[in-house]
């Protein structure tokens, strides 16, 4: 598959390069014949944007044989890269001076950048998620977190009853329960860290020498539960980042499409010359 993917990458890049070269040649030929190239590159750009947007719409027709999702993603990636070149040719490499055109260029480049960021995230995050102790389905994470909390409380209560001591329970109440009960903030979502888990585990390990046998058994269970909570948080933050990214990317795409159509209509209505 390595060779297959490398071959696919080379082939797609070659096709893209040929397409860009052809585009340059066509624009040069148009200029030589005094044809107004920006209209034609505009049509082409709009068509490319529609095809790029159709990638998501294709998912709604999963039962139809419209090609594999992987093939569509490849098309989306390379056509997306090509669209940037097409836009540069269309604008002549200048930033537009009209407010609608400026807005359109801004949302286009934001969409493009979000696409590049998404490509990175979709390649980097899966491998991070795969290194956790378990796999978690995103929608089930809140319920699993509640289960971890309930189980930890029950373990500590049981240990307090069996040991007749509250050393572990006191530590649990002040340090572990808040950690298990609270969800992480926005900073954690953007850049998750296991420092909190490590600190708690270190403190719990330090506490061991003061614990009764029953509490020791319970503390081992707490280690596992703290670890699981951390993994749940990590999965939630990474998976939600991917979902949020997709939402942003699709929203920007819609804006680009709407602004492109408005720009096109405006350009055609202002078109001078014969006819």
């Amino acid at each position: 598959m390595t060779r297959r993917r490398t071959k696919r990458r080379v082939t797609n890049a070659a096709v893209l390069a040929v397409g860009v070269a052809a585009l340059w040649w066509v624009v040069q030929a148009m200029d030589a014949r005094l044809v107004c190239a920006p209209y034609w590159t505009g049509y082409a750009l709009l068509a490319v944007l529609v095809v790029l947007a159709v990638y998501n719409a294709r998912k709604k027709f999963a039962s139809l044989p419209l090609g594999s999702g992987a093939a569509w993603l490849q098309l989306h990636l390379y056509l997306g890269a090509g669209s940037a070149v097409l836009l540069l040719v269309h604008t002549g490499g200048r930033w537009p001076n009209g407010w609608l055109e400026g807005f359109l260029a801004a949302v286009y480049w934001l969409t493009f950048v979000s696409g590049v960021v998404g490509l990175y995230l979709t390649r980097a995050i899966p491998r991070q998620l795969a290194r956790t102790s378990e796999e978690f389905v995103y929608e089930r994470i809140p319920r699993l977190r509640r289960e971890v909390l309930a189980k930890s409380r029950s373990v500590v209560l049981q240990a307090a009853g069996d040991a007749g001591a509250t050393t572990l329970a006191d530590f649990y109440t002040s340090r572990i329960d808040p950690y298990l009960a609270e969800s992480r903030g926005g900073v954690y979502t953007m850049r998750p860290s296991s420092s909190m888990r490590r600190a708690l585990m270190r403190e719990l390990a330090d506490l061991k020498r003061f614990l009764d046998q029953a509490e020791l058994v319970a503390s081992e269970k707490l280690f596992a539960l703290v670890r699981k909570k951390d993994d749940l948080d990590f999965h939630e933050s990474r998976q939600s980042l991917l979902k949020r990214w997709l939402f942003v990317h699709i929203t920007l795409t819609c804006l680009v499409l709407v602004a492109s159509v408005a720009h096109g209509l405006l350009a055609l209505s202002m078109r001078g010359g014969p006819g």
Partner: protein, 583 residues
């Protein structure tokens, strides 16, 4: 403390109304009359075996006794009346016709355009047995019985063979865990003795004449076909194949109830403190490393583990399934070197394994010389499987090697976007037929989707044969009109890959049984999108090449995918160090 009597094999006899006097009367009927009761062990007397493992079943004219494609669980001895075996596929009875291109297009478009406000919507014709077909049903849930509505019409339109009192049928399907090849129905009122496979196996073990009779039937009906399909024997003429078939011996090792021993099932033996070495050592040895090969062993059904001694333990080097051979490498070496070559590996039954043993001299005289020098050298080179031993152990211990279409997800590439789940739901009445969860090994997840098993134990006990293996496509499917919602298949599936659902009418209300008022329940499972265009929607939907439907019963496809796919992800992807941010 509550003390109870430990349940024994016949605490729950197969036939509830099987009185001792009926069992006694059966002893006067052939083939039991010819059996020697003294040959049966004291713990397993013939009379008790008949009382516990058989039952008398009465059929009305037209009742279906065995459905083509139905997974055999019992053999039948006809005691009274006449039955008919259809010699050709009965139109509309077995759902094994390959869906046409037009019907696939219609189905695909319909599913695409359907707006699933509620899942699992069915029209009455989709879930009602006998709606327009030749079959109808009577009875409820697991006592449901299918019958042909127009027996004379079927007899006129189809070629059938007559079965009379004293004849045994269904034995090959029951013993080899294969789908029945013909539909058998009662022509007159029929009284039959149904012998479940546990009893059938014991009868064969302790009554040599009966065993010989069953094996003769198998030899006459199925052995030649099995041998013909074996690649090693492909160069043999019909005459040579007949000679090989005549010399072939049958062997059975292990426990037929392997699914009760699967980790996570109620009869779990793999949990606890038992190590892998202990588990392997506990598996019945078929052939021992260092010993001369017992012949060429062909797996007829079940699974076997190939292992090699490593220190004090055994390392799994491969696993074998139906149609695969053991001992060929050593026999090839014997032929090439001119002196006996001992086995380089051991063979053990995993669960159970039925083997065909072709004696060494027959293999050396008839089979191996046909292969040619190059093939012989290749065979004798005896390379180990391309999968690491720990992966082989993982697959065998969880019986994932049962799967011919396992859903394997590379977690290093999967973005958890659930496009696969949505695609499945869109193609299956708004409800996905799998859960994106399941056992994980390294970065591979074996998702809870039907594996399309080599040995589909879910089909055991289905009272109507609704769950069947499609004769054309090989896909294990559920025929909704005849599914009575008894959950037998869902409870039997050792991988928990079958789910029971409430079906709804187009308005969204749950469809209920008109007599009891209880919801109509149907079994659902992955059907590999067999009646739609383009193959499994889950695999097609994955934008990252992370999900694959793959044959794990063979080692090579998974080895190739594992060797190339994950390595590619590691080399090509602009990923950070795994878990760097997390740790």
């Amino acid at each position: 403390m509550t003390a109870i009597t430990r349940p024994t094999r016949w605490s729950e006899p197969f036939g509830e109304g099987m009185a001792a006097d009926v069992a006694a009367r059966l002893l006067a009927v052939e083939p039991f009359r010819s059996m020697d009761p003294a040959a049966f062990p004291p713990k397993l007397p013939l009379r008790d075996l008949l009382a516990g493992d058989t039952r008398i079943v009465k059929y009305q004219p037209g009742d279906v006794i065995l459905l083509e494609g139905d997974y055999g669980n019992s053999a039948f001895l006809l005691l009274h009346g006449t039955a008919r075996a259809a010699l050709e596929r009965l139109e509309g009875v077995s759902e094994s016709a390959k869906p046409s291109l037009v019907s696939k297009i219609v189905r695909s478009v319909a599913q695409s355009l359907a707006f699933h406000r509620v899942p699992e919507v069915r029209r009455p014709a989709q879930i009602h047995p006998g709606a327009g077909g030749p079959l109808a049903a009577r009875g409820e849930r697991d006592t449901t019985r299918l019958f042909l509505q127009d027996v004379p019409g079927v007899l006129d339109a189809s070629q059938t063979a007559v079965l009379r009192a004293g004849e045994v049928f269904g034995e090959v399907a029951a013993l080899s865990r294969t789908p029945g090849v013909a539909t058998i129905f009662a022509e007159t009122e029929v009284v039959a003795l149904e012998i479940r496979w546990q009893g059938l196996r014991d009868l064969m073990r302790y009554a040599p004449a009966f065993s010989e009779h069953i094996h003769r039937l198998y030899r006459e009906n199925s052995l030649a076909a099995h041998l013909r399909e074996t690649p090693l024997l492909s160069g043999l003429s019909e005459q040579e194949l007949t000679e090989v078939a005549a010399a072939t011996r049958f062997q059975t090792h292990g426990n037929f109830d392997w699914h009760a021993e699967l980790p996570g099932s109620s009869g779990d033996v793999a949990d606890g403190d038992e190590t892998l070495f202990e588990r392997i050592a506990r598996e019945p040895v078929v052939a021992e490393e260092g010993q001369p090969p017992p012949g060429l062993l062909l797996v007829r059904s079940g699974f076997a583990r190939v292992s090699r001694r490593r220190g004090d333990g055994h390392q799994t080097t491969a696993y074998l399934g139906k149609g695969q051979a053991f001992g060929a490498a050593e026999l090839a070496a014997t032929l090439l070197e001119g002196q006996p070559a001992p086995l380089t590996h051991s063979l053990r039954a995993v669960g159970y394994v039925d083997l065909l043993r072709i004696p060494t001299e027959v293999a050396l005289e008839l089979i191996l010389p046909k292969l040619g020098p190059e093939s012989l050298l290749e065979l004798a080179s005896d390379t180990d499987a391309a999968l690491p031993a720990r992966t082989l152990d993982y697959l065998v211990d969880r019986r994932l090697n049962n799967g011919t279409q396992a859903m394997v997800i590379d977690l290093d590439r999967c973005t958890r976007c659930d496009d696969c789940v949505r695609a499945c739901a869109q193609t299956h009445d708004g409800n996905p037929r799998f859960v994106r969860q399941g056992p994980t090994h390294d970065h591979l997840q074996f998702a809870n989707a039907c594996l399309q098993c080599v040995d589909p134990v879910c089909m055991i006990g289905c009272p109507t044969g609704a769950i069947h293996r499609d004769g054309e496509t090989g896909v294990v499917r559920i025929n909704e009109p005849t599914c009575v919602g008894c959950s037998t298949c869902a409870n039997s599936c050792p991988y928990q890959n079958i789910r029971m659902v409430d079906v709804r009418e187009p308005g969204g209300a749950i469809v209920v049984d008109e007599s009891s008022g209880l919801p109509i329940i149907k079994a659902t499972k992955c059907d590999l999108c067999a009646d739609q265009l383009g193959g499994p929607a889950c695999q097609r939907a994955c934008p990252h090449d992370a999900l694959v439907r793959i044959d794990v019963a063979e080692i090579t496809p998974l080895a190739e995918w594992m060797e190339t796919g994950p390595a590619d992800a590691a080399v090509d992807d602009p990923a950070t160090e795994p878990g760097a941010a997390h740790e």
